[in-house]
Symmetry: C2
Subunit: 420 residues, 2 copies
């Protein structure tokens, strides 16, 4: 392989995660060891920086900033949701050439993999000597080949802590149905991860009493009637219900009803609106048969929104470590001559959990989506199986610890009360 030398650019793309800056820190840390890498530039706001020649000189930052940036949510370089048009490619190569850029680290999801591939194909046509690696990052966890994606473990931790607390809050009330809409456009990885909340309970005699009681996945056909029946069954059993739905089920109800905007990759905006939650709440209010003695029906929906990926101070330690590893290993791979590939996470052992890195062809990843396998979802299509728990628990790096009272009832002395 030809020895090349020049500047490097790091691109952060798509929705940020709690650990996208760990990957950035990993690249910065490892690249110090290679004299072939001269300056390291950060593309300001992803592809936008590459088109408008907005670069930050990361080599000039103080060295110890990277461990501090690593624990900050958001994309420290700025991100974008742009797709390179054919007319953009000339400009991109003018810029790569003007800045002597020979190494591109593209941190992103499956849209970014597609963008990286387009740039790579153009480089081949031009015989421009540049190495490009794609570094996976997506809270959606829906990239092919890699066991899981950096960013997912932290969301799994955040949503499971939210749902654990929410279920205790919900348990405080009679006749209470609580719906939580979580992120997940095409795949139910985040929705499934909320089930971790069930594993944090100790001292609880009836584990089926612990929420989330029902989880709905984009992978499973969503039907209003089935949903109402499921909630009724849960209510009849325990007098309440904590429910999680992936935002992507909106597409199954009515693709046009819940959508406002579309980005350059054709992704619909689903978050940042309470419409799906309102729709489901109305279904329950209209159809659930409940015991009036315990008061009115209390039915609420929360759409958890962007804090799922950005909550400060709650990242999974496993996720942080692996996101950093992806960054540092990508430098090693590139210096060994690797290009046009995505760095993957490879689970080498389940118990104890162990994970290393690998590489795969970009074509296997771009524009593709990894769904939950059917065996990770229960037979009824409204919960997860032990196979899924085995998969997800090590990634979230712990369960929320939850306690409940034994509830030893005091014998009654008086006749029933009929409140008027």
């Amino acid at each position: 392989m030809a020895q090349i030398k020049g500047n490097a650019v790091i691109i952060q793309s798509g929705g940020p995660t709690a650990v996208i800056n760990q990957t950035l820190a990993g690249i910065m840390d490892e690249s110090r060891n290679y004299h072939q890498i001269e300056n390291i530039y950060g593309a300001s706001h992803g592809l936008h920086g590459l088109l408008y020649e907005n670069f930050l000189n990361l080599s000039n930052e103080r060295q110890n900033i990277w461990s501090e940036i690593a624990v900050s949510p958001g994309a420290a370089l700025g991100s974008a949701r742009l797709k390179p048009k054919t007319s953009d490619l000339n400009r991109i190569f003018d810029i790569l050439s003007a800045h002597k850029i020979k190494f591109i680290f593209y941190i992103g999801g499956n849209d970014s993999a597609e963008a990286a591939e387009l740039i790579r194909e153009e480089a081949n046509r031009r015989a421009y000597d540049v190495r490009i690696l794609h570094l996976p990052k997506t809270i959606d966890n829906d990239l092919m080949v890699t066991d899981h994606c950096p960013g997912y473990g932290s969301v799994a931790k955040v949503v499971s802590h939210i749902i654990a607390g929410d279920d205790l809050d919900n348990r405080s009330f009679y006749n209470s149905v609580k719906i939580n809409v979580v992120m997940g456009r095409h795949a139910g990885w985040i929705a499934g991860a909320t089930a971790i909340a069930k594993k944090g309970h100790i001292d609880v005699e009836d584990h089926d009493e612990v929420g989330p009681h029902l989880i709905y996945f984009p992978e499973i056909k969503f039907e209003d009637e089935k949903f109402i029946n499921d909630v009724q069954k849960t209510y009849d059993r325990i007098g309440r219900a904590t429910i999680v739905v992936a935002e992507g089920i909106a597409d199954q109800i009515d693709p046009n009803k819940f959508t406002n905007e579309v980005d350059e990759f054709g992704n619909k905006q689903l978050s940042g609106s309470g419409k799906l939650g309102d729709y489901l709440t109305n279904l329950i209010k209209k159809h659930l048969i409940f015991n009036q003695q315990y008061g009115k029906l209390r039915c609420r929906a929360d759409t958890l929104g962007y804090l799922q990926r950005s909550l400060a101070g709650m990242a999974s330690k496993t996720d942080q470590k692996e996101a950093f590893l992806i960054g540092s290993m990508s430098v090693k791979y590139m210096m060994e001559g690797e290009t046009d590939k995505m760095v993957t996470l490879v689970r080498t052992s389940q118990k104890p959990y162990n994970c290393t890195t690998g590489l795969c062809d970009l074509k296997l990843v771009a524009q593709k989506t990894k769904l939950l396998s059917r065996s990770m979802i229960n037979a009824e299509g409204n919960g997860v199986t032990e196979e899924f728990f085995d998969y997800v628990l090590p990634l979230a790096g712990g369960v929320p610890e939850i306690r409940a009272l034994k509830a030893q009832h005091v014998p009654k002395h008086l006749p029933e009360y009929a409140r008027t």
Copy 2:
């Protein structure tokens, strides 16, 4: 004072907080020292338990459960939003009498203070010997007399971490306006607390660049035009905006537009719906003038919902300690003969922060709401002053640590790009 002896009942009422169980634990811990208290019962689901004779025998729980329950969100005894009707009072006294209840610990907000007062007045009429203390609890922090309310410090911590992360997430994008609707029906204590996110930034040269950039309070008249102008000014200055609004401002826009349900105290349901966020988002989308070179306008709203009060694992240590103190001190006060009062928190020193407890007449609290003083809100009515920071910082027990890059731009070599 006459020595009385008998059973005690603990009532948890209204919306749970992250530390309502600390107060429960404080009562359980201290009451072991007094032989006058025989059994301690928990009213199952607040006033509902008192009406339907559903009591849990807390004295039978294992002793070490209380420190574990203390850190769990939700109301461990169950809660309710019922107001005692005149027709309920006979029943309540039948039950108190049948169960030899002489001590009532009523943990709640201003609605609960009203309920406690109604029960107390009936006890006076009947000359029934019972002691009642009200123990404050509300994330809204809107009770009179007490310096602050247990539950508030933890919400302040949670929302400031959410907004710190959200602002970094928002900063990742160009032309991005992000609106966050937080709890706070009548008072802007929670909205104001999000400003703590501004204090966690180190290394940031322009502190005005750090969000939240605009905060809207129920105490200040909300006008669409003023809102749009404020956002435009922020956008013109830094190209984006992170905004916080208290849910209560919905009342100022149109009291009927955003309300679905009302509880027995006449409180409107404001959370659990994205309507206010959608309304404000539409205002911005319609009126904001933005720079098209940086792409489309990205405007999103999240309604943070119930996780503000229930997120597991993120309570403020100061809040936890004080909520426990309220519980243990209430037992001491009651054993000294105190009744018909609320236990208050008294700030005895600002730097270093120090807080002790006191007592006040229930009548000073019931049905009253403490608003932010005008001097805690900035002149423009869209942010907080240093006076508010002095008030809130010790309660949240810390600031989210946030870092940003220095952003040293690489000189450009090429002409401007006009993307087509």
